[in-house]
Symmetry: C2
Subunit: 305 residues, 2 copies
């Protein structure tokens, strides 16, 4: 940490009323402060004493990859994941090829950002599989195309030193967002590939309900597939837009103890992202959001590490 | 079918513009015409030439069980399921005992109605497990209490000749409606009991997304556990109240071919209910709703039988 950033951080921390040092493994996923630009997201995260951040492609592209990488280096933060690639369910044709090319750019971005982040950064690209193509009911075919697409990208990922993290999304998104719905299914797809190249994203919001979740987390550990562990909470009623129903850890019904211990028991010792999509959180001051995230993590997640 | 009912049915069929005879295995779940009272639900179902109906407890209780049973007999319809028991996740205490007693009444109702229905009626009570109790995050404990509750009711069900059908609900209802989220999980619970006493409800809306669904349907068949097959469709965006997101078969993205064939391949040859919860369907004329249901079933489901 440079002296000037340290001073700015302390000043902003005091302004935000941060009382405690955030957990050293906490990473702020940039979506949690969605309306902050990259500079703001990096600044408020570092200023709060958080050590790591996961970035999204759009705000990185807004400033350009090279500039983003320099900003990240200057922030002193570790880089944990890049969000997101995927959208793999399109049938063969130019749209699918364009999506694959875009994923190759995302792989390069993830590699560049991981190299620009502080020591301990991880080159992980989170993949959201995509939903059923317009007018299609062929769920099984869509799932096969996800596997094919990952096969088409695996060499690029290996060459770049990037791990592709297949993210199972909650089954309520199976038709329009992600035909990969369980951790077991993600691991079945990943099984065709080297664990250094293809892993899974373990996100509490998406998998907490799964009767097999603890077994599948243990399996993911055994198979070396936990590319990232992400936490946020589930609460009903769902938001009218169910995408925006993610809450601060502790504000909902997820029991983070067994899930976090299961991940910890696999030997996973890297950063843990908090990723919240919620209109109220997004409308809030990002300084306050990062502080609340750190507090929520300290209360709901850290005791189980 | 009595002569007088036949004439009335023909007259109402003509008025409704029904062109084809409904599939002989179609059953109208009463929730599909939610705002119709029991008399109306029976009348419009029989008048459309549909041969079977699944009932709900509230409209039955509105007229009283004995009267409801006589009305059902007079309708000439087969009785397919009684909806619903369950709400099993409460901790030990008087509320839980009251819930179990209420389930015992529901078992008696199901037996009485099945005896009153036409030949081929089935004494099936659909069970919705219940969500997490207020303030609880103990999902695993709640699931254990579901098993315990079924154990407490199994002898009553056996004595009454009723099959308890554990219904896995879509994982988006795991916190507030049903901690049983997959067919595999329902079958794991049922495995402790005689298949004549405890089975599972196979409902396309709840399980279509499950990567294991075809295997689990085959397993349910092998284990003699398919107590009822229910169909409706899934479409996004979800309704603001996600409970009301069930659509006519064919109006959404579910491929009924593999699911229906999988059920059929197990040897399941009984009635198939259409159960739709949707504000627009409920606001519609029940005569038209039954007709549209029969048409949707004929197009989307019947070709796979």
């Amino acid at each position: 940490m440079t002296a000037s950033r340290s001073l700015a951080a302390e000043s902003e921390s005091r302004a935000a009323g941060v009382g405690t040092v955030p957990h050293p493994r906490l990473s702020i996923n940039q979506a949690t402060v969605k309306h902050a630009d990259l500079a703001t997201a990096l600044r408020v995260t570092a200023a709060a004493g958080v050590e790591a951040i996961g970035l999204w492609r759009e705000p990185v592209q807004e400033v350009g990859l090279d500039v983003a990488a320099r900003m990240l280096t200057d922030s002193g933060l570790r880089f944990t994941t890049h969000c997101r690639g995927g959208f793999f369910t399109l049938p063969v044709g130019p749209e699918r090829e364009a999506a694959l090319d875009d994923n190759r750019r995302a792989i390069e971005e993830a590699a560049t950002l991981a190299a620009a982040g502080a020591e301990g950064s991880t080159a992980v690209l989170v993949l959201v599989a995509g939903g059923l193509p317009e007018g299609s009911r062929d769920l099984i075919g869509a799932r096969e195309r996800v596997r094919d697409a990952i096969g088409a990208l695996a060499d690029d990922a290996r060459a770049a030193g990037v791990t592709l993290a297949i993210e199972p999304l909650h089954p309520m998104y199976a038709s329009d967002r992600a035909v990969v719905s369980t951790l077991g299914q993600a691991l079945d797809i990943a099984a065709d590939f080297d664990p250094a190249v293809v892993g899974a994203a373990v996100d509490t919001f998406h998998i907490w309900w799964d009767p097999q979740v603890l077994d599948q987390i243990a399996r993911a550990g055994r198979e070396g597939r936990i590319a990232t562990y992400q936490v946020c909470d589930w609460k009903t009623p769902l938001a009218a837009d169910p995408l925006l129903s993610r809450h601060y850890p502790g504000d909902g019904v997820i029991d983070f103890a067994p899930l976090t211990r299961a991940v910890q028991d696999t030997g996973y010792d890297r950063d843990i992202e908090v990723e919240i999509f919620h209109a109220d959180v997004w409308a809030d001051d990002p300084v306050r959001v990062v502080r609340r995230t750190a507090e929520a993590f300290a209360t709901a997640v850290a005791p189980h590490l």
